[in-house]
Structures are given as C-alpha cells and as structure tokens.
Amino acid sequence: MRQFSSLVRKEFYHILRDKRTMFILLGMPIAQIILFGFALTNEVKNARIAIFDQSKDIATNTLISQISSSRYFDVEDNLHSYKEIEETFRKGSIKLAIVFPENFNNDLEHFNKAQVQLVADASDPNTASALSNYATSIIRDYEKRITNDRKLPYTIKTEMRMLYNPQLKGSYSMVPGVMAMVLMLVCTLMTAITVVKEKELGTMEILLVSPLRPLKIITAKAVPYLMLSIVNIATILLLSVFVLEVPINGSLLLLVFESILFTLTCLAFGLLISASTDSQQTAMFISLTGMFLPTIMLSGFMFPIENMPLPLRILSNIVPAKWYYSIVNAVMIKGADLTIVWKETLVLMGIMAFLLFLSIKKFKIRLA
C-alpha cells in the first residue's frame, strides 16, 4: 500500500509540475462545451434562399413574407430568370430557390389549384430535404388558413404534443453528445501517453526493476487523472445546466456515477493505447483516428444509429460513447432512473473491465 501511494504521489508530481498541461486539461472542456453547446446543432435554420416570383400578386406576397419571417429561411436574393438559379447555386451561397409561376393567385382563386416549385441544392441532401419540408409546411399552413374559413365536412383534427422538449431546442439532443465527446477526448488523451512517455524517455526501466506489479503501476497512473476528470465532470455538468440551460430531470447522483464510470472506461482505453504503443506519436495518432471520428459518427448523436447498415450498427456497440450518450440522454432530459438505464450501465462496466484487463495484459514487464 505504501509503495502504491508513493507511486500515486509521483504521478501527481508529474502532472502538477507541468502547469501548462494542467491548464489545458482543465480549460479545454470549458471552451469546448461552450463552443459546441451553442454552435453545434443539426437543426437547419437561417438557410439562405432565393425567390423567383413571376406572378407578384397578393397570394405570393403573403407566402413570401411568411417564408421570410420563419426562422428557417433568410431570403437573400430575388431572381429574374431560371438561368440565374443555377448561377447562384454554383457560387455556393444559396440552398433553396422557390419559384412561383405566373398567375399564381389567379389559378388559386379560380381553379382552386396552383403550383409552387422548390429547387433545392441537394449536394447536401439533409439540408435540402429539411428545407423542402419546412417550405412545404409553410405553404400547407397558408392553404389550411384559407380552407378553414370555408369549413369543410369530415375533418380529422390533429392535436399534437411535443414531449420532453416542447420548444424543440436543438441543444437538448446535442449537449449529452458534446459531454460524451469532451469527456472521452480529455480522459483518453490524458492517459494515452503516460506509459509510452516513460518508455520514450527511458524511465520505464526504473519502474520495471522496482517490485511493483503491472496492476499497481497501471492503477497508480490512472488515479490522479481520475481526480482531474472528476473536476472536469463537475465543470461540464455546471456549464450544461447553467450556461446551456439543459435541465437535469433525473437524479444528479446517478448522472455523476455514470459519468465517473464512463471516465474510467476512457482512462482504461487510454492506458491500453499507451501500453501497446512504442512512441508518443503513434499513441496520439491511434487515439486520434481510433477514437475521434468513430466517437462522433458512431455514438448516435450526430447520425441516427438506426439508419446505419447492419455491420455498423453492430460495430457501434463497442463504442463506449454510444452507451454513455444514451444514458445521459435518458437521465438528464427524460428523467429516467436506474431501472431504465441498467442495461447500458452494465455494458459500460463490461467494456471498462475488459479494457482494463487488456491493458494490464499488454503491459510488458520486459523491455524489447
């Protein structure tokens, strides 16, 4: 035990000595949570659009003013020919063009029928379809308002309730994802180079000739970083609640417990990388490509997992961030308790135990 505590103390000295690294480790999550929490949203809004109105009558005017007052659209251009549409698209600024044919109001009044054309820049299919949908629903609302005045028979009235997030705030689904990402990044990176650094600098030999067992060395390396991580968890939660205004509807204790569990998983992952590489550069590259993109793409917060092809859906199960993300989502926003997230918690524990086991196994007690 005494050996262990002096080893922990040594690791603490290592960290505390390097003020700059400390500063980065504690400051980075703050900057990222604020930056990403506000700026990352998969909502589509303020999209720049152009309008080509060949009719210029009362109906098109009303529709255009409704479209431009919606938060989804910024009307930037009024076009005068079909050729102009393609030119503005190629310059890259316009995402959607709305074309009203001639005699729009006339057709509407006399034939009850008229046409609107939406031309979308589908190089981004997501934005294109979202924008067409928003534009269509504005047009439908307009239509409904005229129809309501006429009172049609046999009407199904739809009443709708948005649960958990009535204002449809984008940040609600993003913040748990950002939390997972930032914790993952900071914690894995912290430990990813601790062991390999000793190898590179040659101090590893000293550790190896000491009577300490690999398990102790590995744990001693993780302890100080775990403490740093707990500070980070606290700042991240405080920022999410007070700056990003995402409520914690479930139990705070459960959330903290799950966060520490996830942190441990990340630390174990970092240690595994560190134990199985020979240079800091390789360790960094593996943690960068092996963790950064997969965490963003396969954890389900950017792209829905249910849309992925089967092999990727299976693959996503080994991404710890996926489990943490769904736990945080359930606990923070839906107010779920352990009876609902116990399965995810168990999986996360399993992953952590496995990673820790592997990194102790990989920890070589002989130099090459």
């Binding site: 303020n46 310059k91 890259g92 309730r161 600098l201 590489t277 240079s279 793409m297 950017m302 849309n307």
Partner: protein, 372 residues
C-alpha cells in the same frame, strides 16, 4: 539549397524509419474512408411509431395501414393502452405515438369532425419536427380520401390545393455519401498533416536532438522548410489515395477539375502544416502539443460545416468559422466535386488560404528559437 537537401534527407529517413507511422499514415485513412461514410446517413426515416387504437374500426385500420406503408414509419407497438406507449417512449424505443380515440369513425361520419392525438418524443428537435410533419401529411391524405368517399364530387375540387414540386439539383439521387466522402477526406488530410507536424519539432526538443540542429549553421527557415516539405508530399499522397477510394468505392468523380482540387489542397496543406509546426515550436513537450492540436482539430472539424450547417450557428460562432481553414476546404471540395465550380468561383477561398499559409508559417519560423 544543399543544406535543405540534407535536411530533407534526414527528415524522410526519420519518418520512414518507423514502420508503424507508415501504416498509420496510409492505412488508417483508407479504413476510415471505407467505413465512416456508411454511418453518415442523416435522412429521417425508420421512425418508430406506437399506435394506440381505442376505436378498432375500419377507418382506424385504414389509417394504420396507410402509415405503415410508408418508408418513414416502423410500427413498433399496436396497443390499446396509453401508458404502455408512454413507457416505450420513455425508454427511447418509440419516437412518436398516435392515439386514435374511441368512436373515431362514428364522430368523423356523424359529427363531421374527429380528433386524433400525436405525442412526439422531442428530445431530438429536428427529428421530432420532421417526423410529425410526415405523419400529419399522411393523416391529411387519409382525410382527403375519406372526404372523397362521402362528398359527391362537385364541378371542381372544393379543396384548395397548392401543388409543391421539388427538384433536387447537383445530387438528384440524394446520396448522402456524395456529400460526406469529400468532407471526410478533408478531415483525414487535416489530421494526418496537423498531428504529424505538431509533434515533430517538440519531439526533437523532448529527446534533445534539437540541440544538435541548433549548434549547426542551419538557418531557421531552412529548418522549418525541411520539416514542411516531407509532410506536404505525404499529405498530397494521402489525398490521392483518398480520391482513388472515393472513385473506386463510391463512384465519386469530381465534376470540376482535379487540378483545382490539387491546387487548393496544396495551399491548404501549407496552412495546416504551418499551424502544426507553430504548435510544435511554442510547446515544451509532446503532451502539450498533442492536447493543443487535438483541441484545435476538434474545433476545426466540428465547426467546419462537415456535419452541421454553418448557417445554423449563432452569429459569433459563424464569425469564428472565418478563421477555420477546414471550413474553407470542406466548402471548396464540395463545390468542385459536386457542382463543378472552377477557379473563378473559389478565388476568394484561395486568397484566404494563401494568407493563412503565409501568416502561420511566418509565425512558426519567427517563434522557433535556436537559443533556449
């Protein structure tokens, strides 16, 4: 010139001596480019729906089959208890619940009006908005069908109808991979370039070999150039491999010219490598360099317009993206690959990238001190 040649020789040897680095530089991007684009499908489909049917009438059946016939909804639960549906929604299994109240059919026919209730899981606002819009469209269509059956058709349709015709340009198949692959290529290029260069000089500092360089008459800009050029070449090779994969695996052939892409990529790499070298000169150990470059990479990539639209960001964040080289390259490569834009369309982007490159490299040379 001769000095530079020797320096280059040294750098190349150093890079290629480490076999794992080679694997990482060339194999990792290939694997990622083969796997990740498949994950990036953002289309809202396969929404899980729970239908609570208290009516069990012919009409409610018709409505249900109309909903399940679309590709947007998967019927997860067909029940007659609201609490069951609520539970499923809480555990995240169900995205949207439709309640058809008792006497739905009777009210519709006799009272001329019948309600249905939608409850939407709105944790993901976008999904909720689009999903409920789809469902309302389906109900509206169903409503029109019912009406058609009961009303004697007058001379013309009494219902107002604005037909909306949608055309999708540049990517008519709405293939999300066409959009994502070029973007992911940019990210990989950035990662390879920035992380290699960011760790390079600081590694020499940590190991102590930088002293040996410092006592030689090698000039500062020679030293930086010697570091820059090998990575620049490696970056362009990575880009070529990536473009090959885009073509072979996804059938993506740039609509614009390859020359435009390479010109811009060359400038872009200079800027990114300059940034990496700058980080490397101002930090004292690899851990610091790594943390800083990770931080910047993450900010650059996530706010680069690759995953989420820059237009949707608040004003201050949009201002920040003006300083983000990734955002420019992502935009340019998409414009060239998908829309066939040429030099004239991207001249503004090129100028900015040139300014980035000059400032970052100049700064790196300036802050590299031969004395400690």
């Amino acid at each position: 010139m001769r000095t530079l040649r020797f320096l280059l020789q040294k750098e190349f040897r150093q890079i290629f001596r480490d076999p794992s680095i080679i694997r990482i530089i060339f194999v990792m991007p290939v694997i990622q480019l083969m796997i990740l684009p498949w994950a990036a499908d953002y289309e809202i489909k396969n929404l899980h729906i729970s239908i609570i049917d208290y009516d069990h009438s012919q009409y409610s059946q018709q409505l249900v089959s109309k909903i399940t016939a679309t590709k947007y909804f998967l019927l997860d639960q067909y029940t007659d208890s609201y609490s069951k549906a609520e539970k499923a929604m809480e555990s995240g299994k169900v995205d949207i619940a439709l309640e058809i109240p008792a006497d739905f059919e009777r009210d519709l026919v006799k009272e001329n009006e019948a309600p249905v209730f939608l409850a939407v899981n709105a944790v993901n606002g976008t999904k909720a908005g689009l999903g409920s819009a789809y469902l309302q469209t389906i109900i509206r269509d169903f409503n029109a069908d019912v009406r058609l059956k009961w009303i004697q058709l007058p001379r013309f349709d009494p219902e107002l109808n604005i037909e909306v015709v949608t055309a999708n340009w540049f990517n008519p198949m709405m293939n999300y991979k066409f959009f994502m692959v070029p973007g992911i290529l940019v990210v990989l290029l950035t990662m390879v370039g920035a992380s290699l260069s960011a760790l390079n000089i600081v590694k020499e500092k940590e190991i102590g070999t930088i002293e040996q360089i410092n006592v030689t008459p090698v000039r500062k800009y020679h030293f930086i150039l010697g570091k820059l050029i090998p990575f620049w070449i490696i970056g362009l090779i990575s880009l070529s491999i990536g473009l090959m994969i885009a073509w072979l695996a996804y059938g993506i052939v740039p609509l614009g010219s390859l020359f435009v892409i390479y010109c811009f990529a060359g400038l872009y790499l200079l800027a990114v490598l300059g940034l990496g070298l700058l980080i490397s000169t101002i930090t004292n150990n690899q851990q610091q360099a790594m943390l800083i470059s990770f931080f910047l990479l993450m900010v650059f990539v996530l706010l680069g317009g690759l995953y989420t639209s820059i237009d949707s960001m608040p004003d201050w964040a949009r201002a920040v993206t003006r300083l983000n080289p990734v955002a420019y390259f992502v935009e340019v490569i998409r414009m060239v690959v998908l829309k066939g834009s040429g030099f004239a369309d991207i001249s503004h982007h090129m100028l900015i990238m040139l300014i980035f490159a000059v400032i970052l490299n100049g700064w790196a040379i300036y802050s590299y001190k031969k004395r400690s």
